[in-house]
Every structure is written in structure tokens, then in C-alpha cells.
Amino acid sequence: MSQSTLSRVRRLSQVVFLAAFFFLLFRSEFTGSFRGWTGQVRLPWPVSIFLQADPLAAVTSAISTHALYRELWWSLAILVPTFFLGRFFCGWICPLGTLNHFFSSLRSEKKRGKALLESNRYKPWQAVKYYVLAAVLVSAVFGSLLAGLVDPIPLTVRSLALSVLPGLDYTSGALLDAWYQSPWRPVRFGADVAQFLLQGTLVSFRQPHFRQAFFLGAIFIGLLALNLRVTRFWCRAVCPLGALLGLASRWSLVHLRKDPSRCDNCNRCLLHCQGGDDPIPGPKWRKAECHLCLNCVGDCPTSGIAFSVGAVRSVATTIDAPQIQRRKLLTSVAAGAALVPLLRSTTGLQVEADSRLIRPPGALDELHFLERCIRCGECMKVCPNNALHPTFMEGGLEAIWTPVLVPRVGYCEPNCVLCSQVCPTGAIWEITEAEKLGRPLGASNTRPAPRPATGEAAPPSRPVGPASPEANNPIKIGTAFYDQGRCLPWAMATDCIVCEEWCPTSPKAIFLLNADVVDSDGSTKSVRRPQMDAKRCIGCGACEFACPVKDRPAVYVTSVGETRSKTNQFILPPAPKRQG
């Protein structure tokens, strides 16, 4: 296979992997089929595979947790071949790399003629990414996975899932709505067809909304726009994953061989260079910068450059290691080391945590959580109720963009554990419905005990609520409280109890007490006042979601009592036996 054919194969690989990336992103959603007869909500596709194959997530979380969580070992399938081949991931697979590649190829006034050639030469600032890498590695040593903020895979998932796709969803939804206004039936039928075709991709079942979406989108679009100035600016200058893979390719066996005798100095090899690794004759080729895109080989009219495999390396023509200045490296290490203590000496994490910092079920206690969460947003994307959102300051600056449950937007669906299924790093530890709902440990969570008195055979198994008194406790993510000044039966002598209706626990955590109240006419009437049994409340937020007091709900959840914390707890007397 000639090397220009290889460059076509590379393009195909980029398209295939980007398509797979988008496909899996779109499929990160419950679309209405349970796994077999078990009644468990599971996604049929390995939707987190790109995150699980991310070597930077693996390395940093391994540093912070001293372990490799479940499917994160897929990252070795990227890391180990990099030892031999170099940064093939950047040029062939990385979805953000492919997007940057595409946007770099757009015409730009800033990148023409000599300026383009000059911009594609190696620049000393390309070493910045190694300092970024050093800083995030050191912060991982200190137990904070800040890498997720700048790791390209979480960054891309987060930006697309929480901002770009919901934005496109809005656009297509608005167009469809306008289309449906048409008085002509055939035109409306066209809208039906369009909706059917776009369902599950650009038209969601329900338009998602996310906190922080504007900022996440603006950052992402800004990053893509930088490609119009400098080809693959992000990949060359910032990307810590690229830096990691650059270091990993130190002893790789793939080399660029230049034949100066055939060179007529046309500089065409620089025209489409992605990495800024100096394929031109004269300066040395920089292995750690090269994305192996093979454009230079295809562009050379005299076949003067070629990639070859071999252990022989020529110090005269190649720079194997990235050019890092020791002093700057030490500075970035110091910065990474200072970062976490500074962040953690601020209030927020263990002192004065926001009462509304409600983490998803299965989330580890806050310190372990921050050791793992890479802020990919996958849990938020997959949540069927749009309940999970990226934080801003709720968990302190350190925890920015980690998931928080916002019950007013959506509550936690009791029978759903999708967020824990998709979490690539175990920040939300994988749990089953049985663990979440609190059933007897070791008992089947899917088959309800048949009721012998009725003589009816057990129907196809599906999960049911807690069945026996010796059940393990359900996972609690917070506790609901009443704002009695706003609650209709408490403050307005009006029956309501929607919260009680929605309460999913059995017996219900919300119970009703009859009270005689006087309304504004002075007449006495009897209303049912809702009360919270904190012992039974799981903090799912269904009551807050459903509360008809629209602006600021009369019942709201705070994080106290969350199972994951040892300190954010009540000590309450055991729940009394109560019917209904």
C-alpha cells in the first residue's frame, strides 16, 4: 500500500471514529427497551467507550485512586500501541482531533501562502501542553482529577452533549414547530417525516436544558475557531492527552525519513502538516509532535519523505523527546501542587458545602468523587429526566462542571441507574436497581415473590419496590423539607398533596395529617397537610419536581442525609411501622 493510500485510509479512519463517537453520543439515552426480560434499564451500546479508552483519564485516575476502574483498561488499547507507533490516536481516532482537523482545513485569511507555511513550523509554545499535563498529573497526586477540564475526550462529550446538541435540538425543534403550523396537510406530513428521521439525533424526545450550557458551548466553539488562526491549535498547544501520547511515543518505531538529495525545497510538506512537527528538510523532525496524518508524504512531489518502521534512529534528523524546559516544567509542577491545596483551603468542599449539592445516586463521598469525576457530562446526557446538570460553584471551584441533581428541572427516577452505568471512572460507582431501591442483599432484584394466596403464577419478572423488612437501606441522595409559608395546605387553606401523590417510596415518606384551618372568609375547613418522614425520604426530588408552586417550590430537597456522606447525616429514631 502506498503512503498516499495510507493517508486516505487515515481520513476514512477519522470519519469512521467520529461517526461512531456521534452515534454513541446519540445513543446515550434511554429509548424504551429493557434488557431482555429483566426489566432493567440498560443501554444496548457501550456508550462510554471513547471515555474508557482515554489514556489520560486512565493515568490520572490511576494516580489519584491507585486503581484502574472497570472498562478503563480499554485505554491500554490506545496507550500500548502508542509506544510502538507514536501519536496515531491524535491523527486517526481522536474525535476532537478530527473536528479540529476539519476546521483547520477551512479557508482562512490568516493562513495563506508564506504565513501558512510559517504557521505550520514547530513553535516553542507547543511545549505548553506538556506543562498542562504536568500540572494535571500533579493535581491528580493531590487527589483532584482536574485533568477532566482539559482532557479532550471529556471536553468534547461535555460540550456536545450539554450544549451543542441541545442547541441544535432547539433549532430543529423550532423549525419543526414552524413547519407544523402549515395549513396544508401534505406539508405537515413532510414535518412528520422529518421528525421521524431526526428522532433520537437532532430531535430529542424532550428538549434538554442544562445549566452552564452557554459557557460550555462558547468555550468549545472558541476552541474550534482557533483553528482558523493556527492549524490544530488545541492539539499542538494545549492538549494534555496529546502531550501524554507524545511522551509515550519516545521510543516508537515509526520514523519520518527525509531524503534531502531529492528535495527541491518546495515546502509542500508543510502545507497540510497537522502536528507542527517540521517534516521539512533541514530542521529535525519532532516525533512527539507528529500526529502521523501522513499528509506530508502525500504532498511531496519528489517522494523525498517517507515513514518507515525500524529501530534505527538518527540523532541527526530526529528529535525523539518533546522539548521541555526544566525550569518551566518545575514551575508547572509547582502550580499543579499549589492548585489543589489552594482550592481545598477555600470553603465549599468539607466546610460549608452548598445544601443543594445533591449528587446522583451511587456517587462516592465527595473526596473520592473528586478523585474520579472527569466532568465528561455523560451522566447528565443519559439521565432520562434531565435531572443532572454541571455545577458552577455548588461544590466549590474545584468541583466545577461535576454533576448535581436539580429536582426542579427533573427528579431522580427511582428504578433507573443509567448514570452509574455510563460513568467511565466510577465517580458514580456502578450500582444495581436492587442496591438503589434497597432490597435484601443477594436476593433477586427482578422477580417478585409470587403471592401464594392468590394462586396466580408469577408474571414475567420485573423489578418491584422494597419487599421485605430486612431489606438493605435504599440509597438516599438527600432529604426533602417543607416551606410551610408557601405550601398550599399550610399557608392557603387549600388541598393539594401532589407531593404525596408523586412520592415513590412505599410506604410514602410524605404523610398527611388532617388539620382544621381558617380561610380568609373566617370559615373553618379541613385540609390535609403534608409532612415529611425524613427516615423514609430518599431525596429523589419527585415532590419538588411536581410541586405546583411553580417558581420556588414549597417542598425542596437538600443534601443532608445522603448515603455517601458520613458526616452530612441526621441520627433519627427508626421509622415506625406505618400503613400506606
Binding site: V41, Y180, F205, P384, P459, G465, S506, C547, P548
Partner: protein
């Protein structure tokens, strides 16, 4: 003539004045037109549905049938047969909406949603009677995609040949319900266009109304901020029933959630009553069920009184022609 001659200048000047005049006239015209259009924004046009989904009364047939037996399918078949057969209610070529309760993310044995076998049998009977399309839909409280699956209703209804519509935002139309407390609400489109509506609720406990039965099931035909309705629940129920005008009501009381409703969860709260009540009088049906399982007299249920006053049926179930059967 060169371009800088005075004549050319003058000509250019005149032309430009003309062009500016045209531009000014167009701007003024557009401004005047827009100015006249300006008015305080109003809600967009809403539909006023005009539907006839009822069937004529037949004095030779019972208005309500109470059947007891082991199999949900057999209960449905026997009840509909006693009411005169499905062909009495469904004409050939009808579009029929079957409205079960698919409100919650609960399995069938938890008794929070209508029995799927029963729904499937209703679908089959409609098709046997010649219905063109049988739609099964409901606006769930929990995520509809999960409720439709977990309840087993989507699978059972599809297997029976129904068109199952999981409601998304675009399935609703703003409609003036013309009720006492309910005016403009988003209504699930099939309920506006269908020829016949068959209500297939399940009997459950409910803390506010004592029990949730047939009339309460019509909460599921509207979207929007439904939780407001509880504040005037009795009037809301009647408004919805008056709007929906079910052709036939088939109340599932096979498994009855006696406590902890309407969501339930614990099998200890579910009792097997193995009963089905069907009929053309939605008020009498609710009145009967409330008395039968929660010992609630119709006098204690204001929505029945209001419904009778609005001419939707008889709240005293003893006044309707009733047939008791077992299979």
C-alpha cells in the same frame, strides 16, 4: 458628455433623489403597516374540539356490567358482550383511542397501571369490530418511555396490533376545554381526532379523592402543568370527563392498590379483586367502585355530585341498569 459635466451631475442627483424617495416611501409604508399591527400579544388561536364519541342508549341493554373471574381477557370479553358487543360501540373504519393508565414507572403486579393483558384484549376487540386504527396512549407522570415499557402495556398493545403513541412534546395541541376551571390546556392530539374513546382506567387508592378511578384517568389526556389541578380537583375531574366523553369505560379492578396510591410500590398493598366494571355511564362506574372497595358513599365524593349536575351520568349507581356476572 463626460461624467463630471454639470448635466451628468444633475441627472445623477435627480436619480438619487428619486431612489431615496422610493426608499423613504417604502420605509414609511412599512413603518405605518407595522405600527397598525401593533397590539398586546394574545395567546395563539386555540382549537375548540367538537366531537361526537358517544353511542345511543339502548334500554334493552345494561348500562353497567360487573364481572368477576380469573382471567383479565375473559373479563373484558364477557363485559363487552353483556353491553351489546364491541360492534355496538365501534363502527367499521373508526379510529379508536384506548386510554389506559400508564402513569407510573411500575410493573403490572404493583397495581399502579392498567393490566396490560386487559388493554391488549380491548385492542383486539376493537380490531375485531372493524376499527381502522386502534391507538393506545397516555401522558405518564414519570418518564413515559420508561412507564410504557415497565407497565408492559406498550409491548402487549403492540402485540395486539395497536398503534402505541409515547407522547412527546409535539403530540399536544392547545385546546379550549371549555370547562369550569379548565380552559386552555395542551391536549394529546389523538383525543381530538379519534372517532371513539375507550377509557381503560385502573382502580387505585388516592389520598386526595379517596380513590382514583375512571374520571381521574382523564388527567392523562392533557399535558402542561397538571399538578395545579389538585387545587380544584373535583371541578377539574368533571371538566376533563365532560371534554373527553368516553364512548365506553372499562375499569380494571383485577389488582387493586388499596393503600399507598396512586404510585404504590409494595405488593402488600395490592389485593386481588379479579373484577372488571364496564359501562357507558362514567359517573356510576366511579360511584360503584368507590363504594365497593373503599366504602366511600357517593355523597362523600364531590366530583360525582358535580358530574351528575353537569349531566355526565348518575352518581347513584343503584339507579342504573346493572348486570352482575361471573366467568
Amino acid at each position: 458628455m463626460t461624467s463630471d459635466s454639470p448635466a451628468a451631475d444633475r441627472r445623477e442627483f435627480m436619480l438619487r433623489v428619486l431612489r431615496l424617495g422610493g426608499l423613504s416611501a417604502a420605509t414609511l409604508g412599512a413603518g405605518a403597516w407595522l405600527h397598525v399591527r401593533s397590539q398586546r400579544p394574545r395567546d395563539s388561536e386555540v382549537l375548540v374540539a367538537d366531537r361526537r364519541t358517544g353511542v345511543p342508549a339502548d334500554p334493552s341493554l345494561p348500562e353497567m356490567v360487573v364481572v368477576q373471574g380469573e382471567s383479565p381477557e375473559a373479563l373484558v370479553r364477557r363485559a363487552v358482550e353483556a353491553l351489546g358487543g364491541m360492534r355496538r360501540f365501534i363502527a367499521r373504519g373508526d379510529v379508536v383511542v384506548v386510554k389506559p393508565n400508564i402513569g407510573w414507572d411500575r410493573a403490572p403486579e404493583q397495581g399502579a397501571n392498567t393490566n396490560p393483558a386487559l388493554v391488549a384484549e380491548v385492542v383486539r376487540l376493537c380490531q375485531d369490530a372493524g376499527a381502522r386504527t386502534v391507538i393506545v396512549t397516555d401522558m405518564s407522570c414519570n418518564d413515559p418511555r420508561i412507564c410504557f415499557e415497565r407497565s408492559g402495556i406498550a409491548a402487549a398493545a403492540r402485540a395486539a396490533g395497536a398503534h402505541v403513541i409515547v407522547p412527546d412534546e409535539r403530540r399536544f395541541k392547545q385546546v379550549n376545554l371549555g370547562g369550569e376551571v379548565l380552559t386552555t390546556w395542551p391536549v394529546l392530539e389523538p383525543f381530538l381526532t379519534a372517532d371513539k374513546i375507550i377509557n381503560v382506567p385502573i382502580a387505585k387508592h388516592h389520598s386526595l379523592t379517596g380513590c382514583t378511578l375512571g374520571m381521574k384517568n382523564f388527567y392523562g389526556i392533557i399535558g402542561g402543568q397538571r399538578s395545579r389541578l389538585h387545587q380544584r380537583i373535583n371541578e377539574s375531574l368533571v371538566d376533563l370527563t365532560a371534554f373527553a366523553r368516553p364512548t365506553l369505560t372499562i375499569l380494571d379492578a383485577y389488582r387493586v392498590l388499596m393503600r399507598g396510591g396512586p404510585t404504590g410500590g409494595s405488593l402488600a398493598d395490592v389485593e386481588f379483586k379479579k373484577t372488571l366494571i364496564a359501562g357507558t355511564d362514567p359517573v356510576a362506574l366511579d360511584s360503584y367502585a368507590a363504594k365497593a372497595w373503599w366504602d366511600l358513599d357517593y355523597q362523600r365524593l364531590p366530583f360525582l355530585r358535580i358530574a351528575q349536575a353537569r349531566g355526565l351520568g348518575k352518581m347513584n349507581f343503584e339507579e342504573v341498569r346493572t348486570k352482575m356476572l361471573t366467568v
